[in-house]
Symmetry: C2
Subunit: 542 residues, 2 copies
Amino acid sequence: MTAPRYWYNIAADHPELAEDYLDPATGRALKAEDLADVFPPELAEQEFDHDRTWIPIPEPVREAYSRWRPSPLRRARGLERALGTKCRLYYKYEGGSPIGSHKANSGVAQAHYAKRAGARRVVAETGAGQWGTAISMGSAFQELDCEVFMVRNSFDSKPGRRLYMETFGSTVHASPSPLTSVGKEALRADPDSPGSLGLAIAEAVESAKEDRRTFYSLGSAFNFVCMHQTVIGLELAGQLAEADVEPDLLISCIGGGSSFAGLVFPFFGMGAKGRKQPKFLAVESNAVPTVTAGEFAYDHGDSAKLTPLVRMYTLGHRFSPPGIHAGGLRYHGLSPQVSKFIHDGHGSAVAIPQIEVFEAALKFTRSEGIIPAPEAAHSVAAAIRTATEHRGEELDIVFLLTGHGHFDMTAYGTYIGGGMEESATPTETISASLRESIGGIDRPEPQQVSKPVASGKGSDSFQEWWRRHFDGAATPATAEAKPAPAAPKGAADLSGHAVVTTRTLGDLAADATEVRLAAGAVVTPLAQDELSRRSIRIVRNS
Amino acid sequence: MTAPRYWYNIAADHPELAEDYLDPATGRALKAEDLADVFPPELAEQEFDHDRTWIPIPEPVREAYSRWRPSPLRRARGLERALGTKCRLYYKYEGGSPIGSHKANSGVAQAHYAKRAGARRVVAETGAGQWGTAISMGSAFQELDCEVFMVRNSFDSKPGRRLYMETFGSTVHASPSPLTSVGKEALRADPDSPGSLGLAIAEAVESAKEDRRTFYSLGSAFNFVCMHQTVIGLELAGQLAEADVEPDLLISCIGGGSSFAGLVFPFFGMGAKGRKQPKFLAVESNAVPTVTAGEFAYDHGDSAKLTPLVRMYTLGHRFSPPGIHAGGLRYHGLSPQVSKFIHDGHGSAVAIPQIEVFEAALKFTRSEGIIPAPEAAHSVAAAIRTATEHRGEELDIVFLLTGHGHFDMTAYGTYIGGGMEESATPTETISASLRESIGGIDRPEPQQVSKPVASGKGSDSFQEWWRRHFDGAATPATAEAKPAPAAPKGAADLSGHAVVTTRTLGDLAADATEVRLAAGAVVTPLAQDELSRRSIRIVRNS
């Protein structure tokens, strides 16, 4: 199969899934330009893009993807036999990426956009180390400096992940660090602080704001991260179409939510075009039961309240996640798009206890060979539950194996040695966190729930339908038909852009003397430099 | 591409590469039946098979292969750019197997044959842990018990690899162990013995001999292991044919030699059929320069002198390898077939120092993402040397990346921290080892050197040639034309079999009453059980 050439932007097909982000201080709805001081402008645009269904994957990102994509889709026949089920189990395996998980799909994209916006450096936080490794790889490919604030607890206990980042050339700081004001404050309060993801985020954001040629990058939850991950679902659709299999159920785990979004959003889009709609199952840890025991409410994305207020499933930003082995699922919130998707009834969620998860992982390893990352093992456990409950039915079930567990062998040792503990979080703990976290936050009413999607199995085979609707490269036949905007000359009209970047300016004719901008449009510092250098006058619409 | 259905047995096309193995006690040439007490009979047959060029891959092994094969072939464009070379660099990546290296290809095959021969248990030695993990996975798939004797030094320093094996359900013993007589003896001599591969082999072999339903398995050097690895070269040929690329140079590292054999033997076979013959380069560590500084001579495969005498490149079985990070290259000898292949001038070898190897690995990681295992990094270093020396030429160079370095991050940390030491072994050390090791061993003259292979580029494209000569499944069109032997009835003639296994008996008609065997044929204990159960009389040819 050929590789996808576009990402799928669900907000264009389903704008009701993209609710406003609110400024934590003023409560007003945020726009792309509000993010332009920490994100590359093109990513800030993607975050709020409700227009383009298909967003072209830049050529350098596609070249990077070619190093591990397409990722394999495999039938788990050994596991089927071990379970004695008639269900057909398939897994899409993202652990074959160089860094061992799906995070690579956004890591190379974010580094690319940072480079194109003139960055010399990116900064990121990392908990268990997956995202830090992904952005380190992306930065190495782009020859960007990369600094990672790694939660001290992981920094000390996971030297392998830290060395992995350093091998890519990154600088890794234990967080809290003495390099930022929030870090210094945390160290003053507790010199032995083990750190937290919220604190590491705050350090990274502060560090990015200090320098106009440094951008912040993050590994999940945001819309553009979810969108970058749609290469997974698009590829999967092509692979299933080749085999003419229309799945009954798609499964992925949810931490920030990007792997789930990447897997299911493209299939949701196809359902809207009249194909059979699979069911979508999100799997969380019963230690961090964001969807199954949290609230759908406006809350902060971080404990320091630096990030925008977004409506999402949340356990409250003051929730202190217990130390489960699936570090990637220890997030109090969930991607706003994924949250709305589930809240609107398009998918459901299940919470699974840690011991069942590792039991499932062992069964998978012994029948299929791969040792799943603890996060990915949640999907395995849900697939096993389903295939066992529906033992006699010939369901086609696909689960996403987001990564391998090569850096999690200690957790497996604990399980094998009988020392693994149960993970359920008491209801009272969750209630208290929600009360303290979101009690005082104003909550706009949710936007209209999307209409139920017309769904059915067309009379043609999935294979034929896929070939007719997509051009074999997992891209819509129509996506390339839209003409590119003509390059302005002389007096150039850029008033359609909320953010003006050097890329936007790249389309200007050499003899441009004046640009017309929208009243509130933001001009990035590098674009400003370029305009000054070329003595181009800015005229703003009133 | 479709998966290979046969392994390529070079000894059938080139019997001069398969020299006699000698009994260490008597000096007589060994036959399959001499190995039948430790190996499954079918593997013992494969070891000495000089007749069948194409050996069918059993269906359960092909199903296991489908979990990670075909392995990807990728163009290293990032590395090409970093080197500023016109050479086109490709790598075939075996690190995507569940256990992270090519060892999986033989692990699942050996476990399959053991199971088919009625085994309930396999035993193996492992140094750094790669082979132990591979045979553990194969055993898990076959629901066989598996015990691994792991060199104590690694047992203590590589808990991740040990836990990996245990996750598959294996029992891992630190070697020397109190479970065998050789182990006890070693512990008496030194209770803190760090162990050695030679000792671990001896423990595993002793343990296998104790129980007739236990077989020994080993990870390299033997002919059947090299043959199992030919799926690599066969797949590669198909992938290159698809792109119509005929390579100029193939590169792999050599420890025991199986990855090199698996990569190049199929291409050597194609050269004999008139296609352009690539050059073949074997890469070793300058700490263990078996080919470049050793002798081509009869020697023991292990330090305890339990294994057959074979002619090979050797540093002497008393050679004490220095503690380099590429644990898989710390073997004093080399596969007899690979040794003869190089000795006859079909390939060449180069020894590379450790620091250059890690420098190359870092360059590769930062341009391509994957962290190579230290062994595999030797091939990267050789590819970089070649592509730099021939910077202006458009050579097509393929190197085999045998595995990833996820369990070798400590070594990378040492390199990044500037603490890595050089690795060259002094000439005097090697001379002394050779003198002590092979001084007293009789050496039969080498068999006739094979005729130079006719080689040239045919007038047809490689793509067309491949399609015509192979059936698209990387199998020879003729391989399946040979009729299967008819099943004997009543009085059955099995005199063509040197070893009679339950598989051999599986072809007997239900009413068989008598079997005719060759005078020296060995009947395995399980086959003996079966014959007794069915009251079948054995008649031996005089």
